[in-house]
């Protein structure tokens, strides 16, 4: 076959490829996809407890909690005089805070309850001051990312209460808003 023929055929194929049809997204698809991503992303974030081998991702980590086995026997809040870890969030901005839990043993069906101070919301849960869900912990370190949004300049204390069987621990986090 002559080179001229090949070039002409290639050109024709190229023109066909440029015309190769593809529909535009349906009206409203992008908006719906964003809404679904917001809800689903929040759900997956909460379930992302199972990070046992992590490195750079925990740069923002603010606490390591020892739980499980004998260490989960405490029924009380930590000593009120103990230093409470804290984070600062800009008003109307979100910030992801990673809580790290080190468990001596794997725990099935633990219940986690997050209580939020006035003016602070958990992304994906507008208007909810207390969110509870069931989860499992692996033996070793478990990461719980919480994306907080500051709606008022008040700030306050966030409580994360973990319960398993009849034992529980409560973690306190100071949230300041600037």
């Amino acid at each position: 076959m002559q080179n001229n023929d090949i070039n002409r055929q290639d050109q024709e194929i190229l023109e066909l490829l440029k015309d190769y049809p593809m529909p535009a997204a349906d009206a409203g698809f992008y908006d719906q996809a964003l809404v679904r991503a917001t809800h689903e992303g929040s759900r997956r974030q909460r379930n992302r407890w199972l990070l046992t081998g992590f490195g750079a991702a925990i740069a923002a980590t603010i606490a390591v909690w020892m739980i499980g086995g004998m260490l989960l026997t405490s029924q009380q809040l930590p000593d009120a005089g103990a230093a409470i870890p804290g984070v600062t969030i800009a008003l109307e901005q979100s910030r992801t805070v990673n809580l790290v839990f080190a468990s001596a043993t794997a725990l099935e069906s633990a219940t986690l309850t997050v209580s939020l101070p006035d003016g602070i919301e958990l992304s994906g849960f507008p208007g909810q001051r207390e969110i509870t869900w069931e989860t499992s912990l692996n033996e070793g370190k478990n990461l719980l990312p919480l994306t907080l949004v500051a709606l008022k300049p008040t700030g306050g204390e966030l409580l994360a209460r973990l319960e398993h069987d009849e034992r529980n621990r409560t973690f306190r986090l100071r949230v300041d808003v600037t």
Partner: protein, 166 residues
């Protein structure tokens, strides 16, 4: 992210070849990106980054996203006002011939390997540069070039054999 949506949706379509799977892939990308919002704020060029994430998602879950490759081009699948949106819509005979050729092209594309089909669609249909395809797929530009050359040759072979082009 919104300014990148059209390009990402088109990429999803090119990768999967079908609407439902393209929408699934696009959705999955947004969910993944949602968890990286903090990173996205500081990424210099979120567009290419999002394209790479989408490509990797597609590769990771190829079976799920590639199950419905189209085999024909129906007018209902065409963008805008269907066939009227194609160039030369004032000539119905020409339009019908062109639609037939597009159907044959679609069948020919379905006969290419995934790698060859992807590179020819991204480069020749979507206008991605070779370096962009290299960045997107992680395939060296020399290999991309070679695949493009072979993909075009194979398309020429199929489309001349069935009489679509002469």
């Amino acid at each position: 992210m919104r300014p990148h949506f059209d390009r990402l949706y088109r990429l999803a379509w090119r990768l999967t070849g079908a609407k439902a799977e393209a929408e699934d892939l696009f959705q999955e990308l947004l969910i993944k990106a949602f968890g990286k919002l903090d990173d996205l704020v500081v990424i210099d060029a979120p567009g290419p980054w999002l394209c790479r994430v989408m490509y990797n998602l597609f590769i990771d879950e190829k079976r799920r996203f590639a199950r419905g490759r189209i085999h024909t081009v129906e007018e209902g699948q065409l963008g805008g006002e269907g066939i009227a949106s194609l160039p030369g819509s004032d000539d119905p005979v020409h339009d019908n011939q062109r639609l037939e050729k597009l159907k044959q092209l679609d069948k020919a594309l379905a006969q290419l390997s995934d790698e060859h089909r992807m590179v020819v669609l991204l480069h020749d249909a979507e206008g991605y540069k070779l370096a962009e395809i290299e960045e997107l797929t992680g395939t060296p530009v020399g290999t991309v070039k070679s695949r493009l050359h072979r993909a075009r040759a194979r398309l020429r072979e199929i489309l001349t054999a069935d009489g679509t082009i002469s």
